[in-house]
Amino acid sequence: MAFAPALAACGSEGSTTALSTTAPTGGRFDDVTLKLLVNQPHVTSFRDVLAPKWKDATGGILEVTAAPYDQLTSKQILDVQSGTGEFDVFDYFYFGLGDLVEAGALTDLTGWIDANGDKIGTSGYLKSIYDPYTLLDGKRYGLPYDGDVHILFYNAELFDRYKVAPPTTWDEYDDVAAKITTDAKGSAYGAIVSGQQVPMILGCSYINRLTGYGGNLLDANGKPELTSDASVAALNHLVKVSPAALPTPLQIGFDQANTAFLSGQGAMLDTWTDMALRAEDPTASKIAGKWGALSLPVGGANTTPRTALDAGFGLGISTATKNQDAASAFIAWATAAPQNLVVSSTPGAGIDPARGEVLDSDGYAKVVTKAIGPIREGLNGNPLVWPKTAGAPQLLQGLVDQIALAVNGTQTVQQSLENSQNQWDKALA
């Protein structure tokens, strides 16, 4: 106890620096190397698509380092906190924004964006994602890069074979899943439920159902409402659909889910919209031309489809950067409409539109083909926003831990949601 004051004195506060309003939004950066720490599934978009274009446009060089999605935020914090300061630009999860800002890892861009809104084209960012991805406590820390929402993909060939229609409600979804799984006798499964116990996977599956049943994670006052009727219905659905799903939901991550859908083993998958590009790519898909897409189903009393901002990324500038000018110019350039269109239209790049002009463009509609309707409906709508305050990733992990216990049958749906509610109540009090 005696050394408490000494320990307290050792504490290091995260500090946030603000970008100058005169920092560039473009220019030449010959032979300047910008180091990017990015989400692993985005590597293609930066390394193969943007890097050559950036070199042509500015003479600058992009050096891309990938981090697994579940380590991205911690690596970004560590880079700054450890004093290494290796990276200039962070491709960050929006629900990690609070932790990054608390750690002093992201540069405050508020003044720069306000002063250069026209040059950056801020009015073009999708309203549904601009504030959620970049705004925290009245300050902006990034520009939106990847507008991630989920829609429901289905295998039209399996639907035809087993004579079922695309579902618009979660009840219909259950019926379709059960019929295909039963009739296919192990050769295919009616549903693919991604249930790996991390927020990015099981969290998405639960929240997709939560929005479908008309629920929210937080109410208008920021209070958790995890024991609402919609929440109970959503988790009940996850539990009950498991027997008809590709075995075993709690073990299904991105790779297993995508592989099963693209190989024709699974009939329905709620996932990110860039699946449209993968599904249509004959080198990676056995179902090219034989799939369809819908908005996420609805359930209970809710009749209006609504998606959620499942994941989603912005580009921010590390407070440790030594190339601030090139970094500011890069994030403005990378999130501009031409670049957003090309990365959103590249199979395997893992990027979805962050701008209205891209979402509404014929070029984008042409590559995502049948998915364009639900994608536009989702991103132009009012998607559910995940919490992003400091500590949000921990809250979300706690939630998916409890959800997994219910899915696994270890505890009841009600108990899982009450435990989550208690945890969130304490943390957000």
Partner: protein
């Protein structure tokens, strides 16, 4: 005539201990007594709050039991299997040989590769065992789909990977048993079991008990395979303490304070169990002497 050894010669050792043991331990205790995140270590003093937080975690307290069960079971099973294989190899005659080297393959394979290989084998759709299960009438059987099944799978994989370690040491230990004693026992008409218990075992017991202790500690430390194959699931079924501590400190909100408290508690548990086993070893070796 005795010569005094200059005290300064101990300085490197003292510095090493201070740097590698004392400082990390003090830092760990300091983290456990403060609000500490990855971003803000040693932020402010919180007394024992982190310990309360550690036990409030739905995964941590059960993980201490699970880790202990896991470590004790694998220590016993790997030691017995390793000893049995070593005896068979010795009985065959000659050195460790090609067969012995093959036994070592799991041991020298990177744990992450072991995890990936087993995960592919156990994949419920398209996995290496899927057709086998189907052939024996267990179509759709997924051992990783239930909590108990996943725990048993981890046990089996760990035993598969670490039995060769026990085999290696047991084989070396068997080499010190004097052949003339074995020959005398045989001439006196002793059965193989009696020869083993009265001649071989007293000679190898100290080494085998060391294997038990090492396997116990290795069992407590299991992490890589767990992360790859089950990631602690389903639910918290395979959330052993190292994984829970990793999740607390390096996931979510990077709560290093609570992770440090969990580490200290886990260290006490491991220390207590290891002390018991070491005491059993001392007693058994003394009795055999």
């Amino acid at each position: 005539m005795s010569q005094r050894v200059p005290r300064w010669l101990a300085a490197p050792a003292i510095a090493g201990v201070a740097l590698l043991l004392v400082y990390p331990t003090i830092y760990l205790v300091a983290l456990a007594l403060t609000k500490s995140s990855l971003a803000k270590p040693l932020n402010h003093f919180t007394g024992l709050d982190n310990f309360s937080g550690a036990f409030a975690s739905p995964a941590f307290t059960p993980s201490l039991w699970k880790s202990t069960i896991f470590a004790v079971v694998v220590a016993v099973v790997t030691t017995l299997l390793g000893l049995a294989i070593a005896v068979l190899l010795r009985h065959r005659g000659g050195g460790f040989g090609v067969v012995g080297a093959l036994f070592l393959l799991p041991l020298v394979t990177a744990p992450v590769l072991v995890g990936v290989a087993w995960k592919l084998l156990l994949a419920p759709v398209g996995g290496g065992f899927a057709n086998l299960f189907k052939a024996i009438g267990l179509e759709g059987f997924n051992p990783l789909g239930s909590g108990v099944g996943a725990f048993v799978v981890l046990l089996v994989i760990h035993v598969w990977q670490w039995t060769p370690f026990a085999t290696l040491i047991a084989f070396a230990a068997l080499g010190v048993v004097r052949p003339e004693l074995l020959e005398s026992a045989r001439i006196d008409g002793a059965t193989p079991w009696r020869t083993f218990t009265t001649v071989t075992w007293p000679a190898i017991a100290p080494s085998i008990w060391v294997v038990v202790v090492l396997e116990l500690v290795i069992g407590y430390k299991v992490f890589d395979v767990l992360v790859v194959i089950t990631a602690g699931g389903p639910g918290f079924s395979t959330s052993l303490s190292p994984f829970v501590i990793y999740q607390t400190g390096l996931r979510g909100s990077f709560d290093m304070g609570t992770a440090a408290a969990q580490t200290l508690v886990f260290g006490v548990v491991v220390g207590a169990v290891a002390t018991v086993v070491t005491a059993l070893r001392a007693r058994a070796v003394k009795a055999d002497a």
